[in-house]
Symmetry: C2
Subunit: 334 residues, 2 copies
Amino acid sequence: MSRAVVLARHPEGAVTEQDFSVVDVADTGLPAGFFRTRNRVISLDAGFRQWMTEGAGDNYLTGMQIGEPVQSIVLGEVIESDHPDYAVGTLVSARTAWEEQSVLDGSDLCSPLEVASDVPLHQYVGILGPTGMTAWIGLFEIGQPKPGETVVVSAAGGAVGTVVGQLAKAEGCRVIGLTSTRDKADWLENDVGYDVVVDRETQPDLAGALREACPDGVDIFFDNVGGEALDTVISQLREQARLVLCGAISQYESAVQPLNNSWELITKRARMEGFMFSDYFESFPEIAEDLQSRLQRNALKSFDAVYEGIEATPRAFCDMMHGASRGKCLVTLD
Amino acid sequence: MSRAVVLARHPEGAVTEQDFSVVDVADTGLPAGFFRTRNRVISLDAGFRQWMTEGAGDNYLTGMQIGEPVQSIVLGEVIESDHPDYAVGTLVSARTAWEEQSVLDGSDLCSPLEVASDVPLHQYVGILGPTGMTAWIGLFEIGQPKPGETVVVSAAGGAVGTVVGQLAKAEGCRVIGLTSTRDKADWLENDVGYDVVVDRETQPDLAGALREACPDGVDIFFDNVGGEALDTVISQLREQARLVLCGAISQYESAVQPLNNSWELITKRARMEGFMFSDYFESFPEIAEDLQSRLQRNALKSFDAVYEGIEATPRAFCDMMHGASRGKCLVTLD
């Protein structure tokens, strides 16, 4: 017997803990070619909110169904195996679900993981896992920062935002964050290392605050939010700017805020590009090595909000969606 | 004494001939370092409409002022010179104005032009000039087409659209046009070589018509229109699609139609990029050579709407803006 969190109903608007329920899952036999994991860490990622909405399936993922375990990135240890590549004892990172045990066949972003003894295990779903990969790929592959450029990051206090800010700073850029509260803005400036952070709480005029923070305009916008924030930044680009579309959390829970300023992309000769970390699967080992080396040299810090136990998963997810957690939000099941 | 067309008032909404007036310009002395041209061909380009609106200056161009000659690309012959690089008799292409004579210093997209005796002179402001350059650069540098891909072009019957369609077809792509009337659509399919053309007149459901024309989705969108057309195409992209933002004629004369589908750029990992032909100045000779070679081999046709005399310029511009001209719209002054 193990437990899983299933979707109790499709959230409408702001997701709540009541949209989920924890259920017991009976043990089943292992199908040929599959393996079973005891899950150790569950990663919470805002992007999955998109696929919780009723009828939300698209070219990237199927929509989540009521009564089914909730999709997620999970780190587990193989405890039973009929698969040659996944021996018992292997640690794996997989796109599976909020569940204590998973039965997998090795497909769908599933890969064996080598872990270092001096690295907290949970960092492998965060800064050394998909979150760190997303930050790294978006900034370097899509954004292509040059020293001296101005980089703006939305949802700067989130998992990806805290990593992007540090990486861009290390690249010699001036790094501006956008976040919800002044308290979080202070933390981002003092602890994470952003140069300036604009917060929605005390600076409701985003356009004005951004102009003050970036008087010469924006070279790179790493966007996790979409909507109004994206549209405002588009109106303050420098020529040859790059807009890295990583996520659009503003529209996962409410109506789409349309973009009015796309003409600016022409006169500024700007590039706006969406990406998914999963397309860069083959570069993961190399990127992980770079991130791990930065961590070891203390050139990069991991900021984590760690929750415990499968029952905590819905709360953790809601906290992350609504800005109550800082850095990487995750649940440990040990 | 020569004549020029000046802005009589800032157009509001659809531009009309009454927004301009033809004035006599007194001869003046030539300042040191300048030269004077007798203009031969005036190019009409929709993009300039943007800068006719009151207060429209931006990072790319200054806004046009009432009583001042209207900005344009012009081909002229040097008739008086105090500039070492522009001897009398030289043909030059310049960003200047709707005027019979210009006094220039060689800056602002001004360059001497070598013309072939067997090429109609007016083609040097069209398919062999900025128009052809724009089509070529947008398609090859930004769009990067591969054989077998589906390329959609908006304002397909315009100067740039007729060239892009032919170039993409020659590249082995399936080429779909968007245009205003069924009559123009037939011409684009039969004479210009588009595979399928969707027209606003008989196919008001753009999304449905586009899905029928591109059942597997759109790889490249070469967009001259912006607004609703752009938003609709964004919702029907294939993965790794490229959106070439060349112009946004839909919003030069009316309110901006906002984009609602930018989330699709993420899941489709699509790239949307604006460009201006003027950034590729150094590649012009090479691109012109390629275009000229295609013309000579009969692998490319130039479609031109030729008007005569400076007084015809306002009418030509209005015809171009409102879809009454086909292909490259220009005025000859010979």
